[in-house]
């Protein structure tokens, strides 16, 4: 990198190189095309400049082969761009199985982070190097956008639903975090830092903080406080569906459709319970809109997710942290259990226990 006048931002994630490669390809195509067009223009206007006042242009009106050629060739080049871009995008859209989950709430004008262990941060996010991190993004008010240029990732944070974004940092350091979607007066102040640490340091940081109990524990407490458990009981006698083992399953709805029980579904079911009614149940559940904050909903989601994985855990083998992608495909209900003990041995990120069933 040319330090005085950089043309690329720092590459600090696994996808950054791929994005830059695509960018470079497009850059080369663009430079070639621009030089070609500009060169031809300059050549033509000098060569064929008007010599006499009465001169007319030659009667060249078209050439079908040539025109077909410059229709088809750009189209082919563009298809390369499309496929290449789509493949990078696909990677960006699919978090690996063993990703460390962190919950993010954007509000005017700050970023709030909740780690699974209960650590909370504002405008600062600590993550370990070499470990995929999946962020679940929620907005408390308007649309924001979570943007870390060094990671080449960005995702809007939309009120009313969750979006996700993931990255795997490749080198320790401190990187810019920006809000990229205009969100009001202090939009440009909604910035922060992503601090990438060596795993050991990260562990030290995790244990050094003043954790208030894990997110699942907080979610469980809320679940009791809001009396959710009176209807959503462990047996099938409750007035609401059983939540154990729910997460990641496909749910049969009353209107004949099915839906996968993901974070968004759980969120919607808390706030708009009748929107996707499970078959066999009545729309009895009141809405919790306005009664719980976005952070609390995220805690409840974390708790229900932990219920969802208990069955999977029964069959799971020994914990194998840092298992690279290549795990079982998404959605087989073995999302990360978040009930790790507060103090973990070093090098074992607390929330990685997923394993093949």
């Amino acid at each position: 990198m040319w330090s005085g006048f950089p043309l690329f931002p720092e590459q600090a994630s696994t996808v950054a190189g791929r994005v830059d490669a695509l960018y470079t390809f497009l850059l080369i195509v663009s430079i070639v095309m621009t030089l070609l067009i500009a060169g031809l223009i300059v050549y033509f206007i000098i060569k064929y400049r008007r010599r006499t006042d009465d001169e007319l242009g030659a009667p060249v009106t078209g050439a079908l082969t040539l025109e077909l050629l410059w229709t088809v060739i750009p189209f082919i080049i563009m298809m390369v761009m499309f496929v290449w871009g789509a493949s990078v995008y696909f990677t960006l859209s699919r978090p690996p199985q063993n990703a460390l989950e962190i919950q993010v709430v954007g509000k005017q004008w700050m970023w709030k982070f909740q780690h699974m262990d209960g650590q909370r941060e504002i405008n600062e996010l600590h993550v370990p190097v070499g470990r995929a991190v999946k962020l679940i993004l929620a907005s408390q008010d308007v649309i924001h956008s979570f943007f870390v240029p060094a990671f080449r990732i960005k995702s809007d944070v939309v009120p009313g639903r969750y979006t996700t974004v993931w990255f795997e940092a490749t080198k320790p350091g401190t990187y810019h975090l920006f809000c990229a979607e205009y969100c009001g007066t202090q939009h440009s102040g909604m910035i922060g830092q992503v601090i990438v640490m060596e795993p050991t340091q990260y562990q030290a940081w995790l244990s050094g903080g003043t954790a208030e109990g894990s997110l699942t524990a907080a979610g469980q407490k809320l679940f009791q406080d809001l009396a959710c458990h009176t209807c959503h009981r462990g047996d099938t006698q409750g007035r609401g569906p059983v939540l154990d083992g729910l997460f990641g399953k496909t749910v049969q709805l009353q209107n004949g459709q099915t839906v996968r029980a993901d974070e968004n579904y759980i969120r919607e079911s808390i706030l708009n319970p009748s929107a996707k009614l499970v078959t066999g149940f009545q729309p009895l559940m009141p809405t919790f809109q306005g009664l719980v904050s976005e952070e609390q909903i995220l805690q409840l989601v974390a708790y229900i997710k932990s219920l969802g994985t208990q069955q999977a855990q029964v069959t799971s083998g020994a914990p194998s942290p840092n298992e690279p992608a290549g795990n079982p495909p998404l959605g087989t209900a073995q999302e990360i259990p978040a009930s790790a003990p507060p103090l973990q041995p070093a090098l074992t990120p607390p929330t990685a226990k997923d394993e093949k069933p």
Binding site: G248, G256, P329, L330, G331, T332
Partner: protein, 100 residues
């Protein structure tokens, strides 16, 4: 003027057909067909709209250009609804596809 004059008989027939279709759509709405209700309701509404357009609005007797303009309007409406809907219908696909 070159505009074709449609006889009043045609108007009355269309008028009666429209009233009958209104009655039919109401009666069918009372029967539970699941999503079929919506489809039938829209089919009847579309045929009523078509009758109004073809006869009351004289599209049937109009130039090809009028046909194109009319069809174009509804085609663009279909683009708007269709593409927007495609987003909502496929939002869940990615995770589900991985899940198998």
């Amino acid at each position: 003027m070159s505009e074709k004059i449609v006889s009043t008989k045609v108007y009355i027939v269309i008028f009666i057909a429209l009233l009958i279709l209104t009655y039919v759509t109401y009666q069918i709405a009372l029967i539970d067909l699941g999503w079929g209700n919506t489809i039938v309701a829209l089919a009847i509404a579309s045929s009523k709209a078509l009758l109004v357009a073809l006869y009351f609005m004289h599209v049937r007797y109009s130039s090809r250009l009028t046909w194109v303009v009319t069809a174009g309007g509804f085609f663009w409406l279909a683009i708007m609804i269709g593409f927007t809907l495609s987003d909502y219908l496929t939002r869940g696909w990615l995770t589900a596809a991985g899940g198998r």
